[in-house]
Symmetry: C2
Subunit: 358 residues, 2 copies
């Protein structure tokens, strides 16, 4: 089914810089990829996107999603391609109505309480998400030999927050109210998401994904106790289940905004590598996080928009702090649509030069 096949055998191809870094190796030049490296800042993506108005249909078209995944690789030669998809594919896979409004983000029919849970149909998930596996297989067959393929899913807490809030939220009132007020009931939703995520990521790995990332975009809104219960514990269960069948496929955890809980997340969830958001100070990351395992990050996407000296200085600071250990360069959040394409080229060129070269 795939040309790469690393995921199927669990074998790490010696040559791929991303996989070497995720396996703990410190490389002279950090491998680089960017969250949302495929997307609206690219003219070729905007062109492609016009061919299918529904965003979810676009994600489920292996032809178009494969092409979107490959576009930034052709243009910039990143060290990894990340599957073009959306974290709400799993909500759709579970039978929830998911839509996307231009400029507004996702819109879902909110699920609340036991009655909402009964509306889900987890048995239909494998068939519903199957087109994504086909995309992964196509991409794997077409990638350059040094480029790794990353699959991904939203982490349960974050996907649950969209499913319960019905979209993006400012205060997460509805999902917190459920999680805080009825933890057992909410736990059933999280359990279903854990199971669905394991199935979904296993399918991506079987199709050729060589590493997977768990996006916990809203990890940073929970107090300690709830963070342990709804962020760390479900992540650990997913990591353990994946590791049983795919022991060599690294899982990158990205608990955005985890702040003072980053360290507990890294040590307790068992993820192979840790994605850092832009607010994590690189010197603290070196001392307290990179000592546990590989880290990935963390340029502010708005510094990529700014470009020039501000970007170059921050890139240097990040490399100086983290480049001496196992490290993957990335942003601390996704590329924003306003990003000038030439700044991305500049960034990659910067990273292809040794750190001490001005």
């Amino acid at each position: 089914m795939t040309g790469s096949g690393a995921g199927m055998t669990g074998e790490v191809p010696a040559g791929k810089p991303l996989l070497r870094a995720l396996a703990g190796e410190s490389l002279p030049l950090p491998p680089v990829w960017l969250m949302r490296q495929a997307g609206r800042y690219l003219p070729e993506y905007r062109e492609l996107r016009r061919r299918l108005p529904s965003f979810l249909d676009f994600c489920f078209s292996p032809e178009l999603a494969c092409e979107a995944t490959l576009q930034p690789i052709r243009r910039f030669g990143f060290d990894a391609a990340i599957l073009f998809s959306d974290i709400l594919v799993v909500a759709h896979g579970l039978g929830q109505e998911v839509g996307f409004r231009e400029g507004e983000g996702p819109v879902l029919e909110p699920i609340r309480g036991a009655a909402g849970l009964r509306l889900l149909s987890p048995e239909a998930l494998p068939e519903r998400v199957a087109p994504v596996y086909e995309t992964v297989g196509r991409v794997a067959a077409l990638l350059p030999p040094q480029t790794a393929l990353i699959g991904f899913a939203g982490a349960p807490w974050t996907v649950a927050s969209y499913m319960v809030e019905g979209g993006t939220s400012r205060d997460f009132a509805a999902v917190k109210r459920w999680a805080f007020g009825d933890p057992d009931g909410f736990g059933e939703l999280i359990d279903r998401l854990v199971d669905a995520t394991v199935i979904y990521l296993s399918g991506q790995i079987a199709a050729g994904a060589e590493a997977v990332q768990l996006f916990d975009s809203w990890a940073g809104v929970l107090p300690e106790r709830e963070f342990r219960r709804w962020v760390i514990a479900p992540t650990r269960r997913i990591v353990q289940a994946l590791r049983e069948n795919h022991p060599k496929v690294p899982v990158i955890g990205f608990p955005r905004g985890a702040g003072l809980m980053y360290r507990a997340y890294f040590t307790e969830s068992g993820v192979s590598a840790l994605g850092l958001d832009s607010t994590v100070p690189p010197p603290i990351a070196r001392k307290t996080l990179q000592s546990i395992g590989p880290v990935q990050g963390n340029l502010d996407p708005q510094l990529l928009v700014a470009g020039g000296a501000a970007m170059a200085e921050s890139v240097a600071a990040i490399r100086n702090a983290l480049g001496g250990g196992a490290f993957v360069f990335n942003l601390g959040h996704g590329v924003v649509p306003e990003t000038p394409v030439e700044h991305v080229a500049e960034l990659v060129a910067l990273l292809r030069r040794p750190a001490d070269t001005p």
Copy 2:
């Protein structure tokens, strides 16, 4: 002008629990107040609020703002009253058009670049904000003897973010673009806000505020370097200026979402006490933050909405971790409108009992 007058003489009234805790004393029962303790969750506030449709006019009415400030003191007997006002009073004071739309938050004519700066009229500030001082004076005269009076202002980065974005923001793209791309130009806006904030808080102190809090609600969106420049450095300048004239009035800094930068903020800004948002793990706060000075926080406002066992357990965890040192109980963010009034009463009752009493 005031009945309390502590701020004018710089003398800490020995009896007020809040001021004792902020001076570093560890008390058997933690003093308690809540951010947004006056506000829409209170029926008497909603009633009062109807008397003046414009929110800014309401803030500038000494009679109504004084009454709003006192309502939660009467009902719950908090250890501190906090001036009823808004952080955007300073933006208005500088001459920017500020409006509030029901349920949507503030709406400002965005200020960007040098041209925007020239539209500000800082010389008019003292007169524009004078009604707030009158409110402070009225409240000071009416508070029970054990209740401290807290004044406040938004911190420069946060106020700037509203002034530049024109309201609340999801990604802070406009303010980051200015701050990252033209730090010298943006620095002029911050300088004006530093000066305005010193004037404004000094006026509140002269009128009777016994402590002041700097709300940096959006501190948590900046990378390290920019956090030092736009959060820590302006805060330090404000603290130093206030301390010169009011050496004994404590300044509580609340850099919401600062995460791994909380410690640097506390040590480097010079604030007297540190407000913790709900994501700060209390055991880490005890070890790395309370060792520097008094801390305040940090129950998740949605746990106050939930009430019951979830609230009681979290309150106990916070007290167990922090109650042995200098500590003020608060939420980690403001009371939300949906909060049941009886849960607030429950919370205060919990806190009036020794920590080990079930």
